[in-house]
């Protein structure tokens, strides 16, 4: 296990203290684990503190899954985690990104019935 493997696992389990510790020990926030994914791509979507920590330390917000084109914003929208979605947007995640099924985050939120997320993304679109 490399430091990035550990960092990705800590992010995926929502272990904020573990993420902080691994970053302090020099784990690369934009490195990939042995499955080819960055910590932000695999983080526990409900863990807003982990999202904020990784992004504040320079994690690239728009890395898409190599197989499906899914970005973290797609995942947050589909799972309905509005608070994490807002943090991702604050750090310049792209709400217009399309996955390999040609869906945007707002489309996935609508399919999953997360009305609050849909509403938020639509307001954002109108504002821009």
């Amino acid at each position: 296990m490399t430091l990035v493997d550990d960092l990705a696992s800590a992010a995926a389990t929502g272990n904020t203290a573990g993420v902080e510790d691994l970053l302090r020990r020099g784990a690369d926030v934009n490195g990939v684990n042995k499955y080819g994914r960055t910590p932000l791509q695999v983080m526990m979507m409900g863990s807003t503190p982990v999202a904020r920590l990784l992004l504040a330390r320079g994690s690239r917000p728009n890395v898409a899954d190599s197989s499906t084109g899914t970005t973290p914003l797609h995942d947050a929208a589909r799972e309905g985690f509005l608070d994490t979605l807002r943090v991702l947007l604050e750090f310049k995640a792209d709400p217009g990104a399309r996955d390999h099924f040609n869906s945007r985050p707002v489309d996935l939120a609508r399919q999953s019935g997360h009305d609050d997320v849909v509403e938020f993304l639509k307001l954002l679109e109108e504002a821009n």
Binding site: D5, A8, S9, A11, A12, T13, G14, T16, N33, Y35, R37, Q41, V42, M44, M45, G46, S47, T48, P49, D65, S67, T68, T70, H74, D75, R78, E79, G80, F81, L82, D83, R86, D99, H100, F101, S103, L108, H114, D116
Partner: protein, 314 residues
């Protein structure tokens, strides 16, 4: 069981490495959604998979047919033969991207509302009652295994390898994280479904405290911490078949439970103590806990549609 059929799941990170095998967060490349993969390596002979494994998988599939709202969905079971003598069985579960630990950490001060706690407890007990009435015990309930969707729905995970239990089953050493472990397991006595109620009691207290109730550093320390809260049980209550004796503990002068769990109402304290009862046979069951007065009534009137309140935007 699908044997070597299509396997559209790609592992993206390791999320657990228990005694039984590794747990992965993975992506279903056909739907784009996350799943949780739990793999177990089993020894096989010319007759194929061992009967115990087949039986466990059959039980899980039977449970799945009830579509219970408070346990994670089992989406698929795959068996892939690795060698002549080994087969990898992979259980594919619905993935829920938040656990109760994270949910509690995220709750803004002063913590969850009384009604939110009641709602979470009802759902947790409902899932547990369902497992217990199907003769499945969880054995490792802890906040990490209690998942909470963005809509506030509780789903229990990690009961995948719970065995069909007979009334009192043989002891296996590595079960239940120390902090949520009941006295009968710490003492090395026999155990059954009441273990899960003990763990649920610990989680109930943690919802108020937002930190664990009993943080023991060893099994003896854990027992000592428990007796400081529930009192030292009498000689009659002490199990006969164990090597640890009652005399190894000081009879502590234990303060009322509400010292450890402030904000708990009288009825809440009563339910908590019924869950943290030393004697597993006297401990309340999941179904009776659901009928307890504390969970029957709402704290306030305006609780309709409040399932999202814990996720309110600050």
């Amino acid at each position: 069981m699908a044997q070597g059929a299509s396997f559209p799941y790609e592992e993206v990170a390791e999320i657990g490495g228990g005694a039984y095998g590794t747990v992965y967060k993975a992506r279903d490349t056909e739907s784009g959604k996350f799943v949780a993969l739990k793999s177990v390596r089993v020894q096989t002979d010319q007759d194929g998979l061992p009967i115990s494994t087949v039986r466990e998988v059959a039980l899980l599939k039977r449970l799945e047919q009830f579509d219970h709202p408070n346990v994670v969905r089992l989406m698929d079971v795959c068996a892939i033969q690795r060698t002549d003598s080994e087969t990898k069985v992979t259980l594919v579960f619905e993935h829920v991207d938040q656990d109760l630990k994270t949910y509690l950490e995220k709750a803004p001060a002063p913590g969850l509302s009384q009604d939110r706690i009641k709602d979470l407890m009802r759902q947790l007990l409902c899932g547990l009652g369902f497992l217990h009435s199907n003769r499945v015990m969880h054995r490792d309930l802890k906040p990490e295994n209690v998942l909470v969707t963005s809509g506030g729905q509780v789903k229990l995970a990690d009961f995948g390898l719970a065995r069909i239990y007979s009334c009192h089953m043989a002891l296996t050493p590595v079960v239940v994280t120390l902090w949520y472990r009941p006295p009968e397991v710490l003492l090395g006595s026999s155990y059954a479904t009441p273990v899960d109620i003990w763990s649920t009691g610990c989680i109930f207290a943690e919802m108020f405290r937002r930190k664990p109730l009993f943080c023991g550093e060893s099994e003896m320390d854990q027992l000592g911490k428990i007796f400081q809260v529930i009192g030292l049980p009498s000689e009659e209550e002490w199990p006969k078949d164990v090597t640890i004796t009652r005399k190894q503990f000081l009879p502590p002068n234990h303060p009322p439970i509400t010292n450890f769990v402030p904000e708990l109402s009288e009825q809440g304290a009563e339910l908590l103590l019924e869950m943290l009862t030393f004697d597993p046979l006297q401990r309340i069951s999941a179904l009776n806990a659901l009928e307890h007065e504390y969970l029957k009534e709402e704290e306030t009137a305006d609780t309709e549609g409040s399932t999202r309140e814990g996720d309110a935007i600050p």
